[in-house]
């Protein structure tokens, strides 16, 4: 899939940039130490210090997310909210402290103060991630995937500008790590870690021979060593030019950033791998279903074709009638299959509205027996009624038998008339029920019955028993015949009398 390839290229590119960034940071720190060079801009230290708090917050978010991925959902959500609250208060306090000696308006507009409410997008993004980790639903995963790739690129771009000394060109909070973009992308990175935890957990991530694990193992010491060496050397060397507070903060910042970046990178790689696998599985499953669907339809077509060919060759009227009745039943099964599978695709609920199915049955009976030219009207009166999926096919088959029976036998010798098919909620039943009535104004119940009619009756009776429905039929006083079927919508036996 080109979309997937693009995402994977983005993730890989972000990983390369992350490594480059780490290398540059280390080089710059060493250069500043040994050569006393002015490579390190003064704003660099400030930016790192500011971002430390944020990175630390995101680190804690990550831990909370990991907890949630391990199935302890309520604690991490509460913990995360507390962490966000503390972080907000810390940032607000920092804004207050820095703004004390300034005019009110400047204090209100102070960037650190404003940074606090920028945690909101991060919170939202994090909740999405948590939902993705807990539900593993495909559309969440898709959203998470896009967010991770986008976030990685933005993050690396922003962080790259720090060691390159571009911070003073863009004096905005994006570089202090409190902007929504930075927040979002770190959260996205940790989301990757969460998904990783879902597919194995940290021990596997650090020990398995996968590319992500290998990279994490290789990068971790590289990331942690320079700051430590820096501290030791700084004490001995006179070339040190920073305030002592700066170097401690610098070391902490470098350490936290390094670990965060490593997590970001390995999480994103793992995320990419597991998402690709998920997508592959989903695609495979869809292909399988489609093939199966296609085969079912073709098999049914062959069945209908064979019956059709046999009917053409049959010399006896009775054989032809039997084969035609068989065709009608298979047609009903086909309609039920079609409507139920379409319904499952579009709605996915367990219950289905009977109207379209009964309507298809009526159309099919009307066409097959050519009612129109015989002067018989088939009226369908359907009210919305939802029944369990398992009830739909039997009810449709019953409707087909009853309507076919009326169409064939109620109007002999060119007699015209009408057949009413009524489907809707049962009027009498106390429970939610469905009622199917087939009534005609024909000659009334037949005196004698052939084997074919017997089969029709057997089908109706057996199916009624199967779905726990009651069946009743009677001659209509004004002439004609009425059959009534009442079933409970949930498919269980009705509470009323059973005939």
């Amino acid at each position: 899939m080109p979309q997937q390839n693009r995402q994977s290229v983005l993730c890989d590119a972000a990983a390369v940039i992350a490594r480059l960034l780490i290398l540059l940071t280390a080089v710059e720190l060493f250069a500043g130490l040994f050569f006393g060079a002015n490579l390190i801009d003064s704003s660099f230290g400030v930016a790192w210090r500011a971002s430390t708090l944020t990175l630390l917050c995101f680190g804690l978010f990550g831990l909370a997310l990991l907890q949630s991925a391990r199935g302890r959902a309520t604690t991490p959500i509460a913990a995360t909210l507390v962490i966000i609250g503390v972080a907000d208060i810390a940032m607000i306090a920092s804004g207050v402290e820095q703004g004390l000696n300034k005019p009110l308006i400047e204090w209100v507009l102070h960037s650190d103060w404003r940074a606090a409410d920028r945690m909101a997008p991060a919170t939202a993004a994090m909740l999405i991630w948590m939902a993705a980790a807990l539900m593993m639903a495909n559309r969440w995963i898709a959203a998470a995937r896009r967010a991770a790739s986008l976030g990685l690129v933005v993050a690396c771009g922003l962080l790259l500008s720090l060691p390159l000394g571009l911070a003073h060109f863009t004096e905005n909070t994006a570089l202090s790590g409190t902007s929504p973009e930075t927040a979002f992308l770190f959260v996205a990175g940790f989301g990757g870690v969460v998904l990783r935890a879902h597919s194995g957990g940290w021990p596997e991530l650090l020990t398995l021979p996968t590319p992500a694990s290998r990279a994490t193992r290789r990068i971790a010491p590289l990331l942690l060593l320079p700051p430590l060496v820096l501290v030791l050397l700084a004490r001995a060397a006179d070339a040190y030019r920073w305030e002592s507070g700066d170097i401690i903060l610098g070391v902490v910042a470098a350490g936290v950033s390094a670990v965060s970046l490593a997590l970001l990178f390995s999480g994103a790689s793992a995320l990419n791998a597991s998402l690709a696998e998920l997508a592959r599985l989903a695609e495979w499953r869809e292909l399988l279903i489609r093939e199966l669907n296609h085969r079912t339809k073709n098999n049914m077509q062959q069945m209908i074709s064979i019956i059709g060919i046999q009917k053409d060759r049959a010399s006896h009227a009775e054989t032809r009638a039997a084969l035609e009745a068989l065709s009608g039943r298979i047609r009903t099964l086909r309609d039920a299959d079609r409507i139920l599978s379409e319904h499952a695709e579009t709605h996915g609920e367990k219950t289905v509205d009977m109207r379209p199915l009964i309507s298809a049955v009526c159309a099919s009976v009307s066409e097959a027996i050519d009612l129109q030219t015989r002067g018989v009207r088939l009226n369908l009166r359907a009210a919305a009624v939802e029944v369990e999926g398992q009830l739909a096919t039997p009810l449709a088959l019953i409707a087909n038998e009853l309507a076919t029976n009326a169409a064939k036998h109620a109007f002999p010798n060119g007699r015209g008339g009408r057949i009413d098919v009524v489907i809707g909620p049962a009027s009498s039943a106390a429970d939610a029920g469905v009622e199917l009535v087939v009534e005609d104004d024909g000659v009334g119940p037949a005196e004698s019955s052939t084997d074919a009619e017997g089969l029709g009756r057997l089908i109706v009776k057996s199916l009624c028993e199967q779905i726990g429905a009651t069946y009743a039929d009677a001659a209509v006083p004004s002439g004609g015949f009425r059959a009534t079927v009442v079933a409970r919508c949930d498919g269980r036996a009705p509470t009323g009398n059973k005939q």
């Binding site: 339809k297 077509q301 209908i304 064979i306 060919i309 047609r331 099919s364």
Partner: protein, 115 residues
């Protein structure tokens, strides 16, 4: 009125042909692959074509129909397919067909489609 049946399943083709004859249509040719279908349709220029989507080998029925259109602008294409999923639907719709019938189809369905 005449019809060409393009279908790679023998039984189904046979049944469709029978059904068409009974509905009063003249079945003038059958084909089970796109190349034969395009050739027959272009030569005969029938009133109707019953077109399956998956045929023996490539290309598919939609391509065969598209290839035939320049030679017979008045022919009505009725697709008879076993694939009801969205992607196949979309591919067929691209050809602006006269009708789409989803398998299994019976004589009754065909009768309604030719109206």
């Amino acid at each position: 009125m005449n019809v060409i049946i393009v279908e790679d399943d023998f039984l189904t083709a046979h049944h469709l042909a029978h059904a068409c004859r009974r509905l009063g249509l003249d079945v003038v040719a059958k084909a089970d692959n796109a190349a034969d279908a395009t050739r027959s349709i272009s030569e005969i220029k029938p009133d109707y074509v019953l077109m399956d989507v998956r045929l023996r080998g490539a290309p598919d029925g939609v391509q065969a129909a598209i290839d035939s259109h320049p030679n017979c602008p008045d022919t009505k294409f009725i697709y008879v397919t076993g694939s009801s999923e969205q992607s196949t639907r979309a591919r067929i719709e691209m050809d602006h067909p006269y009708r789409i019938l989803i398998k299994p189809v019976t004589e009754v369905d065909l009768g309604a489609a030719f109206d």
